[in-house]
């Protein structure tokens, strides 16, 4: 039922995607494994409250194994406006698994564009996000949203942080009913309440939904958000990458870090987002930097289950032999099979643990095929 992934394994995915990012002028950024713990203590929300593995360095300072790469890149970026920094990374990060509540190692691949971020930079990053999904699997969806639109809608309402968070939670779970109730209890005006309700329900292809969005746009902030989304979409369209690009406001990210366009990528058959990113100027401000930033990360661990499931055999040929005297025949057979592009495993006995396509056996100096499973 679910579609195939375009890569045999994680390494192949990293290689292929890295090649693509290099083609668009992004430089590989090799990171150090450790980071000072302080960085994460100050930006706990960015990591969604996730724990960090810490240890004491030889000089006594508290260090951490990286749970995330973006923070380190932002911290180290120079705030120059001469030219944007375009980097991609593939690093292991350490996070707590939601299910087991234990730490696990995750391969994270991503890219960031930091500096003067304009329409082209944003669109290019989103194009690369879409192309990454296309490379992984043809049945994919890239949902895009704009933080400015939601915030613009409620900018005139006098809402506390807590109330705002609850409204965002409703949008995130597409809970229209609860949204109605909250608007009533927070005293939000009729027009804004209707707009919020519509926003909660919007889902579908960009072209279908953008009119709905325009209809509920109410001020300059929301108008400019719509215009930005439209410019990104027309860019994707002109690159022939607009299939499966949907508008969805339920992908809300933390407003303390993200502003502007945000996006999540999905693959049919994987129950979580496999890619997420957006414009994060607010994070830059937290580090006292004035320039803009946009980027995304691909969660390769989410794809693992789908990558390796379709291979029914461990080896093409299981080759059995009985004594060391058969070594010359054995060598010859192994060489000739591998040259044919087959995988061979030679051993003395078949204990039944290896799944093979063909079973071969060396009798004396003769090679015979015992069994074929195709």
């Amino acid at each position: 039922m679910s579609s195939k992934i375009g890569f045999a394994n994680e390494e192949a995915a990293v290689m292929e995607l890295s090649r693509m990012y290099r083609q668009f002028g992004f430089k590989h950024f090799k990171m150090s494994k450790f980071e000072e713990y302080d960085l994460y203590a100050q930006n706990k929300d960015f990591l969604l409250g996730s724990s960090v593995i810490t240890f004491t360095d030889t000089n006594g300072s508290l260090m951490a194994l990286k749970p995330d790469v973006t923070l380190s890149i932002v911290k180290g970026s120079n705030d120059a406006f001469t030219e944007p920094e375009k980097v991609y990374y593939s690093e292991n990060v350490y996070r707590v698994d939601k299910g087991t509540h234990r730490f696990k190692e995750i391969m994270q691949l991503g890219l960031e564009c930091i500096g003067e971020v304009g329409a082209y930079e944003t669109s290019e990053v989103i194009l690369l996000a879409k192309k990454s999904l296309d490379a992984v699997c043809c049945r994919n969806i890239l949902d895009i949203s704009h933080m400015g639109f939601l915030l613009g809608l409620i900018e005139d309402e006098n809402l506390s942080d807590k109330h705002r968070a609850r409204l965002i939670e409703c949008i995130r779970s597409k809970n229209t009913l609860e949204m109605e109730k909250l608007c009533a209890s927070y005293g939000i005006g009729y027009e804004t309440a209707c707009a919020l309700k519509t926003l909660t329900g919007i889902y579908g292809s960009f072209e279908k939904c953008v009119d709905e969005l325009r209809a509920i746009s109410r001020n300059e902030t929301t108008d400019s958000a719509v215009a930005e989304l439209e410019s990104v979409y027309s860019f994707l369209k002109s690159c022939g990458c607009a299939d499966g690009v949907n508008l969805d406001f339920s992908i809300v990210s933390d407003i303390n870090y993200y502003n502007g366009v945000i996006f999540h990528g999905f693959i049919d058959g994987v129950p979580n987002a496999v890619l997420s990113g957006g414009r994060y100027d607010n994070l830059m401000r937290k580090f006292g930097k004035r320039s803009g930033a946009v980027g995304f990360a691909v969660y390769l661990d989410q794809l693992e289950r789908m990558m390796r499931s379709d291979e029914p055999y461990d080896v093409d040929v299981l080759l059995l032999y009985s004594s060391d005297e058969q070594l010359p025949t054995l060598a010859q057979t192994v060489m000739s099979l591998t040259q044919q592009g087959k995988s061979v495993r030679a051993q003395r006995y078949d204990a039944g643990s290896v799944k093979y396509r063909t079973l071969m056996k060396i009798n004396g100096t003769e090679v015979e095929t015992v069994e074929t499973n195709d």
Binding site: K174, D248, F266, P271
Partner: protein
């Protein structure tokens, strides 16, 4: 190509009601009424595949995408906070999450309050708002017995009619939140099977509206 929708139904009385609504709204499945030991029932014509799971597991099946949609009580959604879409209030299985105690209970605020419950997160959040120090005793059933045996001061549990409470000389003292059954959807299924799921959502909604 029409895609099948996998539906996780909560085992028990609520699930029977939910199945009834789904079938009347146009998603019938004759196979599910046959007497056998099958676990999964499908009807290709209407495009649904049903399966029964433990009510508290519905949100897990949906969150992990084994089920595209499911029906779960708001209590389960509040307790486990699964990352799913909450699409519609079916307005059945109505009850409330409440604090109950032995009749004549006096809350002694000098002490840590001992709370027995199946819903530790809901209880924790509720008392944290009040700033009350509590000790949670997580139980898996027969919660009512805890205050009777003086293991806990109060319980936090679902109250439907209050009969079980009365029979054990307990009474509800505070309502935490009203509960009803909700239609939930996996976030990714909602995107890839959008046509099918929104059609189902609409038909269920229309059916529920006209019924009332």
């Amino acid at each position: 190509m029409k895609q099948m929708i996998n539906v996780a139904l909560p085992k028990g009385r609520l699930g029977e009601k939910v199945l009834d609504i789904f079938e009347k709204a146009g998603y019938s499945c004759p196979a599910i009424h046959e007497q056998n030991r099958k676990l999964i029932f499908e009807n290709e014509e209407t495009g649904v595949r049903y399966f029964w799971v433990k009510p508290s597991d519905v949100s897990i099946y949906v969150e992990r995408g084994a089920a595209d949609i499911g029906v779960a009580g708001k209590d389960i959604l509040l307790e486990y906070a699964p990352d799913v879409y909450e699409l519609f209030d079916l307005d059945i299985g109505k009850c409330r999450m409440a604090v109950a105690a032995c009749k004549g209970f006096r809350d002694n605020t000098e002490r840590t309050l001992r709370v027995a419950t199946k819903f530790p997160n809901i209880a924790q959040t509720f008392y944290a708002k009040k700033g009350r120090d509590i000790d949670i005793i997580k139980l898996n059933g027969s919660i009512e017995i805890a205050p009777v045996l003086r293991m806990s001061d109060v319980i936090v549990d679902i109250v439907e009619t209050g009969t079980t409470l009365r029979e054990n000389d307990l009474e509800p003292i505070e309502t935490i939140v009203p509960i009803s059954a909700r239609l939930i959807s996996n976030k990714v299924s909602y995107k890839f099977k959008n046509k099918e799921i929104t059609a189902l959502e609409r038909r269920i909604e229309t059916f529920c509206r006209t019924r009332n």
